[in-house]
């Protein structure tokens, strides 16, 4: 049962990394779009694509936090006691991002609008960086905020979110008939994927230097299948987009990024903090475990159909504004 709860926690983290990553990635491309006419069009598409779903992904984050403190209170304590600066930076980035995304819709003056764009874009880079850096600090087993591994994890996540953001924006450009932006984001998705592969390789070397045990498990142990999936799927998406084959690329993007998270988590299991804290040591007493499993089951039974309904209505166009 403790493993099952750890797995649910991992699912929440993965959902946030993939779904939230698409949002953060869009913000990164917003920042990089620049002041040109084409950049302005790209930003307009990003705005249009994000408007109805942005911030919904925060729910995954809250869920992960709540699962962590109820299910693994000791993990929550040691992680926050050691890594509070990273979480504080990520948190401030998260709020600024949300606030300024909203603000740029109501900003009247061009200067205010540019400021809103800038804050939104920069916080879209910093937030995933600091969240992932905390995972890197955990993986290193030392729980110090800044170390080669925390920085490496942070950089990987920025590349991964840029990759998934661009990949999904290709789809949005196609869906909303912005033909000239399809190629624009396709090239960016390919570039981001190549950066991801490069940064990922550097990260593996860093892990090898700082936590050789973890690297061994990633390349020969429980992490291997997931590491392989990422290593195969990322070039596959590059190939598909390069050739202009617009099928499966979004699903495969999510699978590639999700596998990356799984590769880390499975490689360090049964440790929650390598060398310090295992799942069995940190798990809440049995009563709380039962409640968490019930909550998880309800989540599956109720939330999945509800999200399905939302998705169905959205695809049917039932949720788009009627006038104007």
């Amino acid at each position: 049962m403790p493993e099952l709860i750890a797995f649910v926690l991992l699912l929440a983290i993965t959902a946030y990394s993939t779904a939230g990553g698409v949002d953060f990635g869009a913000g990164i491309w917003d920042l990089l779009a620049g002041p040109s006419e084409r950049g302005r069009r790209a930003r307009a598409l990003i705005d249009h694509a994000m408007a109805p779903v942005w911030e919904v992904n925060n729910v995954w984050l809250v869920l992960a936090i709540v699962l962590c403190w109820t299910g693994f209170p000791l993990l929550f304590q040691v992680v926050f006691a050691g890594l509070y600066p990273l979480f504080t930076f990520a948190l401030i980035g998260l709020i600024l991002r949300g606030a300024f995304f909203a603000f740029r819709h109501i900003a009247d003056q061009p200067r205010a609008h540019r400021l809103a764009d800038l804050v939104f874009g920069v916080s879209s880079v910093l937030t995933p960086f600091f969240f992932a850096a905390s995972l890197g600090a955990i993986a290193s087993g030392r729980l110090v905020p800044f170390s080669p591994m925390s920085i490496a994890f942070g950089l990987v996540s920025v590349a991964a979110t840029a990759f998934s953001g661009a990949s999904f924006l290709v789809g949005d450009a196609r869906r909303y008939g912005a033909e000239e932006l399809v190629g624009y984001f396709r090239r960016r998705a390919v570039a981001a994927a190549l950066v991801l592969i490069a940064v990922g390789t550097v990260a593996l070397v860093t892990i090898g230097l700082q936590a050789p045990g973890l690297l061994r498990s990633m390349l020969t142990g429980k992490g291997l299948p997931f590491a392989l999936v990422t290593m195969v799927l990322t070039p596959t998406v590059v190939f598909l987009l390069w050739r202009g084959v617009y099928r499966w690329y979004r699903v495969l993007t999510v699978a590639a990024v999700g596998s990356l998270v799984f590769a880390w988590a499975f490689a360090q299991s049964p440790y929650l903090v390598p060398g310090q804290l295992t799942i069995d040591q940190a798990i809440a007493p049995p009563g709380a475990q039962v409640l968490l499993l019930i909550v998880s089951a309800v989540l599956l039974l109720v939330i999945a159909p509800a999200m399905g309904l939302l998705y169905y209505l959205d695809q049917k166009g039932a949720l788009e504004s009627t006038e104007g």
Binding site: P73, G287, L299, S321
Partner: protein, 470 residues
Amino acid sequence: MTSAVWLASEPALLPSRIQMAFTLASHVLLVPLGVALPSLTLLMEGIGLSRKDPVAIKIARRWSVVMAVQFAVGAVTGTILSFEFGILWPRMMGRFGSAFGLGFAIEGLAFFLEAIFIGIYLYGWNRLPPRLHFLLGLVLPPTGLVGAFGVLAANAWMNTPAGITLEGGRLTNVDVLAALFTRALGYEFWHFVIAIYMTAGFVVASVYAVAWLRGRRDHYQRLAFAVPFTVAALLTPVQLAVGDLSARALTEDQPAKFAAIEITWQTRDHNPEVILGLIDDSGRVHLGISVPSLDSLLVGYSPNAIVRGLRSFPADARPSSVEANIAHLAFDLMVGLGSAGALVALWHLWVLARRRRPPDSVWFYRLAALAGVGSYVAVEAGWVTTEVGRQPWIVYGLMRVSDAVTTAPASFVWTMLATLIVVYALIAFFFISLLLRLAARWRREDLGEPSAPEVGVPYGPRPGKFTPDA
């Protein structure tokens, strides 16, 4: 005195307490409309559907926009709070997370559902069949209530912890039901839920009270004022009774908090009720109006009823005099505002019952306009009463706030606090300017420029077509 000692030994304690108080106080302001506005909106939509009244539907649709924006801001401030539990109080979470956190697990679930259905409700106007739209909206009030239940279960657990087995300082077992349904939950839940429904009603109505004062007197204004105000007015007397029960329950569940609220120093019978006034470190009460024996009468229905005083608790297990004064004045403020609200509510109900319409007096609408702000102040005051009255405990009788606080340097927490204050001020500014902008646009529309109420709202649905040049 005692607080001063802890403040010296735990440098991060003061900024952590201020930060938690600041972020919670901000979040509490968003809760009433977040939880209760969906119900008012559905009530209005239901009126519109059953009476085939397009004006009621229009009001409901506009309220739903405010509801969604407000929900999104509340989601942000709520996310911050969940991180603060770890950043500021890691030792409390490490020891008690699996009991204290249970309610939040349920709340997380409800929050998830609410987010999805607010999306469906907001985007579904005029796209879904009206009856189906209304039925899907009916999911919202229960999710809000379940969410409130989760948070209040956690807070009640801090006030009257139960359902846990501690061995050598480690939590070895949790009885889930006992930990969720603690003694304080019953009254805390009803007291708070009624408070937020009252607040939502008074706040929404106050907007249209101002409109009345500015001369708008049409069907739209009358409906949008009367429905929420009547809901709040009907709940007000219930709240007085529930509030009275809550205060009385404290004499058994948290006697030190009760002593602080009443600034009672000596345990005694014929205890007077002190209205306003301050207590000093030696237990003397200054200023204030003292009504002989009233406290004893209220607690035990007899002047001979004995009320326990602050002095009967060890100095390190009761609120300091400063904390007692804060809790006491906040309590008096809450009760005072509640009683004033009850008078305005009675006026409304009296006229409504006799003439089937709200009162026609300028003074009534002035008071009704103030009732919105007054409700917010009362909710804050009630929350201050329960939180400050629990000091020095974070978990009553089991863990002190000073034993839960982070070991981070005080300078870090102060800097974080300063940053949060700036960011919250920005969010408040954006939020309020957005609401004002919406109000102005809707007013223009009522004077003759039609468009969908959600267009241009950052949380609203996108237009059907993407136009890069828009």
